[in-house]
């Protein structure tokens, strides 16, 4: 764990050329970053997407992402390799997320599985635009919805995937607002039961 050591910021390699937009950075595991800004710009999108997939809302995802970088960047040696930096950021993200749930709901709702991430995302700097561990989330959501009875599936689709308000959903389904609330609540509970039988860490079946 060399990169845990609080090292003085030494003379790093010069950046060399023009700063590139984040999407165009190409880095592989063995390489190192030019400076902390390169570390930040190369990883912020990934960490944010990961956090968003774990908390489902922007304010918390932004706060937690900021916490990860504020915690992680100071003790990071610039000479740590890309792979080391990523592993360290992910480990920090896992700790930060766990603390967030302890603080807010008193129990761990979601967690970051480092091994699963390593399996799912072998190439850092890949241009996929998909955060580690979130690549399968849409497919998982689809699978989950498909397993639900029609009415439950519809209400969750409209509200979660298509951003319908309760009123719009009520109009679409021909229900009262109160009925939509109850239906949505039951649908979530039912989906949660299905989800328990098919935990995220498990490999997709079929």
């Amino acid at each position: 764990m060399r990169y845990w050591k609080s090292a003085r910021r030494g003379t790093a390699e010069p950046a060399g050329d023009e700063p590139e937009p984040r999407a165009r950075l190409h880095l592989v595991h063995g390489e190192t970053y030019a400076n902390w800004e390169a570390i930040y710009l190369h990883n912020v999108d990934r960490i944010y997407r990961l956090m968003f997939s774990k908390v489902g809302n922007r304010p918390d995802a932004e706060d937690l992402t900021a916490e990860v970088f504020l915690t992680a960047l100071r003790p990071l040696r610039v000479s740590a390799t890309v792979g080391e930096v990523r592993a360290y950021l992910l480990a920090t993200a896992r700790t930060v997320l766990a603390a967030h749930w302890r603080r807010t709901l008193g129990r761990e709702i979601t967690s970051i599985d480092l091994e699963l991430l390593a399996d799912n995302d072998p190439a850092p700097g890949a241009e996929s635009g998909v955060a580690p561990g979130t690549g399968g989330s849409e497919r998982r959501a689809e699978r989950l919805l498909a397993a639900l009875p029609e009415r439950y599936r519809r209400v969750l689709e409209l509200r979660f995937l298509h951003s319908y308000t309760i009123k719009q959903t009520a109009a679409e389904l021909g229900l009262s607002v109160g009925n939509v609330k109850v239906l949505q609540h039951r649908a979530l509970r039912r989906a949660a039961e299905l989800d328990r039988d098919d935990p995220p860490a498990q490999a997709p079946q079929g």
Binding site: R8, R9, T11, E13, P14, D17, E18, P19, E20, P21, R22, A34, N35, E37, A38, Y40, L41, V44, D45, Y48, R49, S53, K54, V55, G56, N57, A61, E62, T65, A66, F69, L70, L73, R74, R103, T104, L105, G106, R107, I109, T110, T134, S137, E138, R140, A141, L145, R159, F160, L161, H162, S163, T165, Q184, H185, L188, R189, A191, A192, D195
Partner: protein, 218 residues
Amino acid sequence: MRRLHRFVEKLLNGGRPRPFPADDADADALRVAIELRAARPGSGAPREEFIAGLHRRLARDQADAAPVPVRRRILVGGAVGAAGAAAGVFADRMIVGPPAAVPAAERLTPDIGAWHPVVNAADVAEGAVHGFSAGGVDGFLTRDGGRLRAVSGTCTHQGCRLGVHERTKLRCPCHGALFALDGEVLYHRLKAPIPALPRLAIRQRNGVVEVFVPQGPA
């Protein structure tokens, strides 16, 4: 159920959910709700403002943490700075860093610097203090006795971003140094004296105040 419902509604409309003591069944339902919400098309990407804002915050944090003297740090910063144009890039630029969304090279003319519009001159009343960030440089624009003046908004000690204090002073959040609006040091509790804030060149064009941000050796 009500608090669970409220939490889920916050997730759905993009707000910050309020904490509540969740039981096992709540936790399961929330896990699914988060999963479904995260699957909404196009919602997982960070805002550019957020990326740029955190970038600035980290730059200040890094500046605070650096144990090396400021002069040397600027040079080191110059060597490894994101602009890569290396040594001698204007000091404030290095500490603040260019906004992530707009690479510096696209904004500034190399070697010469550029005038950046800041605010309408009419909007700066007598005695007003207008904070701005232009071309990667933070500063404060003031009007005193009718004359406009701009000073750097970055502390000369370790590069923290200054804030307005009691409407007539600039205060450093890191070590409490106080500057007058003309850049003079009013107070500090540091071992060695710190220089006054650099003045920034400004001009008025078509009623708009512009600030000059040098790109070459300042």
